[in-house]
Symmetry: C2
Subunit: 390 residues, 2 copies
Amino acid sequence: MQNFEFENPTKIIFGKGCIAKIGEEVARFGDRVMVVYGRGSIKKNGIYDQVMESLQETGRTIVEFGGVKSNPVLSHALMGIDCARTEAVDVILAVGGGSVIDTAKTIAVGACTTLDTDMWDFFMRRQPITVALPIVTVVTISASASEMNPAAVMTKENEAQKFSIRSPHIQPKTSILDPTVLFSLSPAYSAYSAVDVITHMLEGYFNNEEPNSSLQDRLVEGLIDTVMESTRVILSDPADYNARANMMWGAVLAFNGLTTAGMGPISLPAHMIEHSLSAIYDVAHGAGLSIVLPGWMRYTALKTPAKFARLAREIFSVQGDDELQVALDGIECLKTWFSTIGSPISLEEVGIPKRDINSIAQNAHALAQVWGLNDYTVDVIARILTLCVE
Amino acid sequence: MQNFEFENPTKIIFGKGCIAKIGEEVARFGDRVMVVYGRGSIKKNGIYDQVMESLQETGRTIVEFGGVKSNPVLSHALMGIDCARTEAVDVILAVGGGSVIDTAKTIAVGACTTLDTDMWDFFMRRQPITVALPIVTVVTISASASEMNPAAVMTKENEAQKFSIRSPHIQPKTSILDPTVLFSLSPAYSAYSAVDVITHMLEGYFNNEEPNSSLQDRLVEGLIDTVMESTRVILSDPADYNARANMMWGAVLAFNGLTTAGMGPISLPAHMIEHSLSAIYDVAHGAGLSIVLPGWMRYTALKTPAKFARLAREIFSVQGDDELQVALDGIECLKTWFSTIGSPISLEEVGIPKRDINSIAQNAHALAQVWGLNDYTVDVIARILTLCVE
C-alpha cells in the first residue's frame, strides 16, 4: 500500500424524505443562498418545490440560478459568479447532478476572487484555490460523486477544453441523497451513470502504481458487482428503491477517495480522452466513457494483462490460463454489458467519423499535458481512439 | 437500504514515516499538548522518541500522561482529567491502541466539565456530551477503529462495568497510521486484533434491520477476506509491510461507519457480552470476542440462518442446500480459523468456569439495558454463554 492522506468531511444525509432537511443544513452557513440548478427537470418532478419549501421554512433569502446544461460550460458559470457577487450570497446550494454541482463549485470559487481573475487559470492549474463559499447539494443524478469529493469539471466552449479543478475548499459541506429522486431518471441516463461509476473505479483499479492492492481491489469488485446488479434491476423497474439506493450510495463510494486511498497517484486516462468527446461533440459523459474505456483497456492490457485478467475472472467469471486472452475476453464482456444496458460502445454509434481521430487526440493531448500524463502523446491517444471506432 | 447520516471528518495520514507529521497536526489545535500512552512499549520500540521529536520541533509544550492499561479503567482516566485541568492543556494526543485512544477521549470530555460532574453519567447515557478538547492520535495497535470513530469504551473497576460513550465531539481530528509500528506487535495481539476487526463487521452484517444490504455485505466480505489473508501473512512474517498496512486500514474501514451506513440501527450483542469478560476477568478484548462471537452466532443462526449461510458460502466456501446446516458449518469454520491464529474459542480455555455463567450474564445484562438491547435478558445471555463453554 502506498502512503496516503484521506480526509472527507462531507456530511451525507441519505434516504427517502430527507430533502426536507435542506433548509436546516443551508442555515448553518448563512442567510443568502444561491440555488443552482439545471434546465427545469426539477420543476417537473417536484424536487424544486421540496427544496424551496424547506428553504422558506427556515427563512432563507433565495437567489435562483438555473439553466446549467450537461457538460457544463464556463460562460454560464461566469454568469453565476456575477450573480453570486451582485447578490452577495453566503452559500451555494446545488440541486442537480454532477454538471450542476460542478457549476456550483466553480461559482463558489469565483465569488471569492477579485474581478480581474481569469477563472480558467484555476482549471489550467496556473493558480491554486485558496477560498470558496460553502457548498451544499441535493443530488438528482448519481454518477460523478461530486457531492462528496473536491473536484469539478468545466468546459471552455470556444477552445473546446473540458478541464477540472480540485481543492478541499470546494468539497461540499452537506449532501442530501434521496434515492426516490432517481425514479424519473431515463433508462439512457441510468445506464450512462452506471458506466461513469464503473469507470471511476476502474481507472484506480488499473492504476500501475500499486501492485499490492487486494484490499482496494475487493472494495472495487464488490461495488462493481453491486452497480451491475442494481442497473439490471433499474432498467426493468425504474422505481425499485433499493436498486436506486445502491446506485446512489455506490456512486459516492466509487469516487470519494475510498477506493483509491493507498493506490498511489491516480491518473484518469479514459476520462481524459472522453473529455474531448464531450467538449467537441457534446456527447453525454457516460456514453463517451463506454466508448473510450474498453479501447483504453485493450491498449493497456496488451502491455500489462494481469490486472485486466483479474477483473475478467472476478466480475465476469472468465476462465483460462492465458492471461492476455482472459484479459481480452473480460474487456469484451464489459463492452457487451455496456451495450446491453444501452450505452454506446463505438465512435461510429454516436456519429463521430474515424477521420476526426487525430483532432480529438490533439484536443485530449492538451489535457494530458495539464494533468501531467506524459505517456499520452497525440500518437498514443490516436491509437487508443482507433480501438474505439467500431 | 435504510435512511442514514454519514459524517466522518477525521483526517487520516497513512504510511511509513508519517509519524514525523504529528507535531504539525497537533500545532493546528494549540500549544499545550497532553500525550497519553500506555505502559511503556512505545519507549522500547522507538515510537515515543519519534513523537516527542516531532512535537519538540514544532515547539509544543508537552504534558505526559502514561500508564494506560488494556481494558482501560475510569479511575486512571479521572487522574488524566485532573492532570489535563491542572496543566490547562489545549489538545490531547493519544499514542497507542484503542485503550489509549479511549482514555484520551474520556479525558478530552472530562477536561471540559465542571468539577462536580460524575464522569460515569456520560457512560450511563444519563448526560450528553456537548464539548471536548480536540483529540489527535498516533495508532500503535489497529483493531478498535477508535482513531476514526466517535466512540470510547471504559471500565469502572469497582462495579466491573465496561460501558461506552459516543459523540461527534470525541471524533479524532487527525490520526496517523504507520504500519511499521505494528511490526513489533506480538502474534497473540495480532490475532486478537483480527478477531476484533472481523467481529466489528459481523455485528453489522448480521444486523436484522436491513434485508437488502448487498452493497454493505460485499464491502464486509471483501474486508474480511483481506483481514484473514493478511493475518495469515503476519503470523508467519510479522514485518510484512503490506499485510500490516491492510490490517491497519482494514481495521479503520471496518468500524468507521462505512460498512454499517444504511444498515439501520446496529446493535453489538457480541461486544456487549464480551465486555463482561473483560470487565470481570480482564480477558483481552479480542480473545473474549473469539469466545463469545461463535456462541452468539450459533444461538442466532438457529432462528435466522440465511445470513449466516451467506457468510459460510462467501467466506468459507461451504456448500449445501440446507441453510441451517450451511450456517452452522460456517460458524465452525470461523471458530477453527480463530483457533488456528491462536485466539481462544471457549471460556474453558481462558479459565472461566461454567458456574460463573449466571454472574457474567447479570453483568452483561446491565449493559444490555443501557444499550437498549431488550431481547437480551439474563436468561438469553446465559444461554449464549453456555454455547461458549468448550
